[in-house]
Symmetry: C3
């Protein structure tokens, strides 16, 4: 941590005449850009006919970019196999959940489980690795592009079915063990052999959740091995670090598992499109939507920065530079938003903020996606903001980011379980985590988003909402950290096999919090349940839990159910509160943990980076940084308007 | 009628260690339970390998339960064929309306039309019938489980197509007769042979409604013969009565036809899930939804009790015991709701109220479905309510249920026709019937829900809303009963072939009511049409009719269309009124029929069982039983809070 | 133009006993009807067995109708091939976008690309053409019926794929040219041969828009050649004019291309169903929906009359005569609405208003679709309105319709491009055009709706909203017309290949308007953006554009973006305004063009037909014709209630 941040850009030499490359490179450098990512969709250009390779163009592009002073991030092109490869092995295509072969004509048209396609990927990767593995202008690798995008993590094809059976045989050893773990006796679903097991799609009613859960685990393992095949080759031939670009609001595979063999956890940040999509999914918030329509959710990007930062060196490899094309609606960002987003990333320790893309493409699927430059080579508004950022940075030496005092546990398996366990169609795991994250930020807190395998030492408060499985071992580790634990709602309700724990809630959690969940009250968002908490009125919606209480209750629902239950070192939140109540609760929990909450003005956020406090403002109304934050202004001003950035040195 | 009600429970010995069975049985008996239903999903346990039968476990379970004093309801296991059977004949799987084979991994994965699967079902049924047909602990049978659940009544497979062609050939004799009945000349759809006829799915625009209608009739006949094959075998080997468990808000086949060869018409009652689902379907009522969220619609269960009671001895074989898992939202029932629902069933002559299930399963698809006991064997709140019910009953000798003074005609064919005839997407047959049923209950009335083939003698008022075909013979029978008839809206508008009657409305209906429908005004629920009726303002929504009036009009729509038209012994309701107007109309119709309506407080309901009046209260506000109801309180109190039950003896 | 309008009716002799035909014919004549359309769905009656023709019934029907004095419009029966033909060549069935073969049992069950089916169509057409080509009672032909209805313009079958490849090879010559035009390099989609190209359905994410665009063009060409094969045969054997019946709110193929070889552009006008469907699609207007629920949108029919009038002699071959059956809701039309709609058609130069249908069919799919007569042969209310219309017309000699002073450019390619280019899911091309059309009508204007290839001379104002491609040549022709041009929003943003123009906006457009679009602000309808225009407050919603302005701005959005930009002879509208602002803008533009806007009372409309001004009133409140309209009342009255029609002679 503490590396000074750099700017980058995504560039497609294959889209433009060679004559333009040198000029583009020079302009990038002039704009303060030092990294350039290339080639992730260029397989047909590298291998226009089967086995006939053409790398002259790529040699030249790398030379030109490198000689201009840019560091190249080179990608394997496996997200877009050529048509001729698909025609050679038509069964490499993924099958969708409805049982339909997915069509050719866009991208990601392959199944991770098809071994023939894997072999082809290894071949092209090896050729690239050998050719450019020690090229001095190359600085890093990216494997493939956005694994899982467009619902491609899961394929319901025969390759997947066959490998799933092998995976199950390996996981369970005997079919009896699988029958036991899945509870197949329930509907006479017991299997005699692993070869009787089908994929869990198109079933008459929902498939066994353990069956679904294992299929998701299998899909992650398939992506891990697919990616690992590439990184193994790259590492054999190249010393450069390897990245992959993950996505926001995405749960189809466990990114932590993939990142474990990568150096850099990159992600693609598109604040505005994500705002709209998330609103469509759960607990719509019309005021936030209207207030932040052109800046994005004030916590969504920060949350993901913290999420991926815990998986490796953090890169924003694709940063939205202006209006895009793929969301339901695609507005123009507010003036200053591109710089604001960039600073938010840097505040969270991004080493690289790289804009997608240099120049707007005039053709094909993303022609309405902005670049830093218009299609006619004029600068688009994002360019000036990137340049401003470069200028901001040039005078600064930012402190290293240090561990936050608060941890929020995020778990892909918990996410899958909440989805598969249903109960309320308005429950959305990411939204719940984001609400907790937001409540901490509204109290001026900084957060690390970590997996359940993290080292918890040094934290003062650890939040674990909807961590569906909370093993005794994990609970022991949490307690051992000395932090205060805030669990719930929906924490510890399942075993690893997706069964109910014998004692309803996992027992060491119940012991620590003084609360055992017995029944869940799964509600529509439109029927909130009033509560009172410390003299203020609020409401739970979507989710409540009823159970046995041995701890100390705080607050009450209208019908007497507790809001919070406190054990010695852990508390349990018994439902999903409205934003105001949750803010109040997190303030109390921070105080209980020895932290000092500071009430932030609406939509103002702060992130500590050592002695530097980086303030970002997302709201339509001007605000003033609270006096509790002392220190010297080294960028911006204590009075802040929408999209303003201010840095205090304390 | 008049049999004293018993309590039961659904139990799955195959889910639990044998060591627990005796204790479970003893606890059931202690709780006041006398019936236990078992084995409906246990085929794989009975026949773990093709042709290798294992019944030791079942022998033992029946022995243990029976020796504890419980009466066993034994099920055929045909709702969940083992995977090995499907692998033996893969074409036994149903094909969904989209043309996709349905997947394995849940339940009901078979087509009723596959003769190979039928043979397999007959074999296992015969083995069970022979083994347990005279077992003294067995008291009754259940065939299969919830026919049609998860859209399984119809299969679009080749077996269905082939048998549909044979069925049509039998129904029509000649292809010319079919062409005439269907009006195939309309779009050049005339057939030359029965083998040219396809199933009516995936057509370019909607298929011929007569074609669809016959496919639905065929599907019912397939289920009847499928079920009949089992009951014939059971009756050959066993003297015990036979039941099947039907469902609520379900119209995919004609339950009356299936029940005609059964002894017991059981159904599965889940008040809360049905409330939500029905709200999603038609004419949303947000106040009722909010007021009754934790108790269910005050009339939905009662309606279904009356519906199935007319088909055989009434059992509630699965009664919701707490929160469930399968609805869009799954809240915790209000305290007392389980007892309330049980009493509502008993008020409607249920001989058995059996809870689903004894203990919450810790695994598989329904692990979030409550039982009377928690997974850890503690009592869940439903247990105390069941015990309370047992205690309520122990001191009572309830009068026999007698025929109600009012009949409401329900007809599956009418339901299919309203659906296939479209016109307004907000029209929902069951909801219309429920609205009429509710309006009678709000006037203190008791109702029998009967089919069009019922014996109508003894009724004073007969309601026939949306009875799409009203033959002259039926009309004659209705008139002959001496009752007053309330027809409409949408009554008598089709012939049995799904054509328009020559005189627009079936003629004896028009003669009796003094109204001939000429045009229908099919509207969205959001554009209500104001009306005035007896000095009060109201509205029709979704449906109105315009026509020729020879009878006496009462009330008027804003544009002059009549609200009600009265002939001598019959009246026609010319649209679908709001709840208040409908209540007013039914009050008037009851008076016209010589009955005495009593205005009930909101959400209070009453059902007469001989001299016993059983009051159930669903509303959030306390109410007092109206003074018009005299008699001695033998249970509860005249002041009633939500979920209270009171019985008056008159 | 200026032909006196006639009345017609659609008749199905094959649905009724021969004994009724003569009486029906006599009654038609008595009602003032002179045209009768027949036989479009009667293939099975003409050819009941393969190769066995039966025309006796048709000979007789034509004789009876003709001898009664009616002119017969005879149809080719190719919209409903018999089942035996499908069984002969099962691959003639269309495949839907989901990859499913469409089922038999309704109509339009064929792919336009299947050459075997085409041959069968040519055979039956030739037989009809030879037999009736010079029959004195036949007056005109109709080919097939409603091409494209029920999503049948596109088929995703192998025939379509194979012919699409040939079509592409012909269009592009070389695969390199296609790769260039489509920008296939974007996602490694470059093709080596035309045979590598698939249809653009079921792709992982959206297919290349140029790929989709060419598939739509191909589909139009397939329909053109399918239709042309029939018209070539008809013209060889018959001197009578040929029509096809197009539809409303329909964009799946380019009707202008089909109409180019026809004589008559007929369309089927169902005002009420279209109102509901359009409300469901874009920018819902609840007040208009409620006010016009029983009369239809006051501009929708007029717009389509103007649209099709520009393609040939205008016929309304199917005019809604009462409530229909196919919309989501199907209300009864207001009294007088049938006459009102007929007059609106005549006001727009319809030579024929023909009602669908004579008598309500008692069977099959459309039994709830009204006719002029009820099923029992009584007159339905539409009959009296048709007779009233005949009487209205008998005393009148209407002036010829002359060119309107205002042109609105409508382009099918622009429609496809807006749909394929996405950006805001609330953008709907037809609705935008209708809004502009409405704003002109609200200012008392008359409009011609023309294609981009029209002769623009004589217009004073030409509007080109969302004309996505605006070539320099077209812009030159527009300028040369001398008219004032109102372009935008979303005009000139694409090349013909569906790429961005090099200079962002097509350059001569930018030069003429003084505005170059750089970024689009694509918004949800529920987040309107305030603007002020000439002292009045309004809003843009769904769409705004930001760019470079060299012209004169008028009005401003809240954030400074212009509302209108004026160049010398052209103006650019920079967003989609609310109705009031748009009315104001069009008033200003009319004045700028030397026209005199007249503010019309709500829902009152006028259309000039030479010296005859025909007023139609759609609103629920009575209105008075503004005094600015002088002249003698020759029909109706200056005071007008809903559905009234008034004609002034000036």
């Amino acid at each position: 941590m503490g590396k000074q941040p750099a700017l980058g850009v995504c560039y497609y030499p294959e889209h433009w005449p060679e004559a333009l490359w040198a000029q583009d490179a020079a302009e990038m450098v002039a704009a303060g850009i030092s990294y350039v990512r290339i080639a992730e969709f260029s397989w047909i250009k590298m291998e226009p006919e089967p086995g006939q390779y053409e790398f002259g163009w790529l040699d030249k592009a790398i030379d030109i970019l490198g000689q201009a002073g840019l560091k190249v991030i080179l990608c394997t092109p496996t997200a877009t196999p050529p048509k001729w490869l698909l025609d050679q092995m038509p069964d490499m295509i993924a099958i969708d959940e409805e049982g339909r072969p997915r069509g050719y004509g866009s991208r990601r048209h392959y199944s991770f489980s098809h071994r023939g396609y894997r072999a082809a990927c290894e071949t092209i990767t090896e050729i690239l690795a050998k050719r450019y593995g020690t090229n001095p202008y190359v600085a890093a690798w990216q494997t493939d592009n956005e694994y899982g995008c467009h619902d491609t993590a899961l394929s319901w094809c025969e390759s997947a079915r066959d490998h799933f059976r092998l995976w199950l045989a390996k996981r369970y050893g005997t079919i009896e063990a699988l029958n036991e773990a899945w509870g197949t006796i329930f509907w006479s679903m017991s299997y005699r052999h692993f070869d009787e097991i089908e994929l869990p799609n198109l079933t008459v009613t929902e498939a066994n959740p353990s069956h679904n859960m294992d299929f998701r685990r299998f899909a992650t393992d398939e992506i891990v091995s697919f990616d690992r095949a590439q990184t193994d080759i790259l590492r054999r031939h190249s010393p450069y670090p390897i990245s992959h670009n993950f996505m926001g609001d995405f749960n189809q595979f466990d990114a932590r598992a993939v990142a474990s063999h990568l150096d850099i956890a990159a992600w693609d940040s598109y604040p505005i499109g994500f705002l709209q999509n998330l609103q469509d999914k759960a607990r719509r918030d019309p005021k936030l939507e209207a207030d932040c329509y052109r800046v994005g959710d004030p916590d969504f990007q920060a949350f993901h920065h913290d999420l991926y930062r815990a998986m490796g060196r953090l890169w924003i490899i694709e940063q939205q530079p202006g209006p895009v094309n793929w969301a339901a609606y695609n507005p123009i960002p507010a003036e200053g938003a591109v710089r604001l987003w960039s600073w938010e990333a840097i505040a969270h320790d991004a080493e690289l903020v790289s804009y997608f893309r240099w120049r707007q493409a005039p053709f094909a699927q993303e022609q309405m996606h902005a670049g830093l430059k218009y299609r006619n080579n004029d600068d688009a508004p994002g360019m000036a903001e990137a340049q401003q950022l470069a200028q901001d940075l040039s005078g600064l030496k930012l402190d290293a980011t240090t561990q936050a005092p608060i941890a929020l546990i995020h778990d892909y398996e918990a996410d899958w379980m909440t989805e598969l366990d249903g109960q309320s169609r308005d429950f959305y795991y990411l939204r719940l985590l984001l609400d907790v994250y937001r409540a901490i930020r509204e109290n001026g807190g900084s957060v690390d988003v970590v997996g359940p395998d993290a080292d918890f030492s040094g934290y003062q408060l650890i939040c674990a909402p909807s961590l569906m499985t909370m093993s005794d071992a994990l609970m022991d580790r949490l307690i051992a950290s000395g932090a205060h634990i805030l669990a719930g709602p929906r924490t510890g309700l399942k075993t690893d096999d997706f069964q109910l724990p014998p004692e309803l809630t996992q027992s060491s959690l119940a012991e620590a919090t003084g609360f055992t969940t017995q029944r869940v009250d799964a509600l529509p968002a439109h029927l909130p349940q009033p509560l009172s908490y410390e003299g203020e009125e609020g409401a739970f919606s979507v989710w409540r839990e009823a159970g046995q209480m041995s701890g100390l209750g705080q607050g009450q629902s209208h019908d007497g159910l507790p809001v919070l239950v406190h054990g010695n070192q852990a508390s349990y939140l018994c439902g999903w509160p409205d934003a105001k109540t949750l803010r109040h609760i997190l303030s109390d929990m921070m105080q209980k943990s020895g932290l000092t909450p500071i009430a932030m003005p609406p939509y103002l956020r702060v992130r500590a980076r050592g002695k530097h406090l980086i303030f970002t403002h997302y709201g339509p109304e001007p605000v003033t940084i609270p006096e509790a934050f002392t220190g010297k202004v080294i960028l911006g001003d204590r009075q802040m308007a929408q999209t303003d950035v201010t840095i205090l040195e304390i």
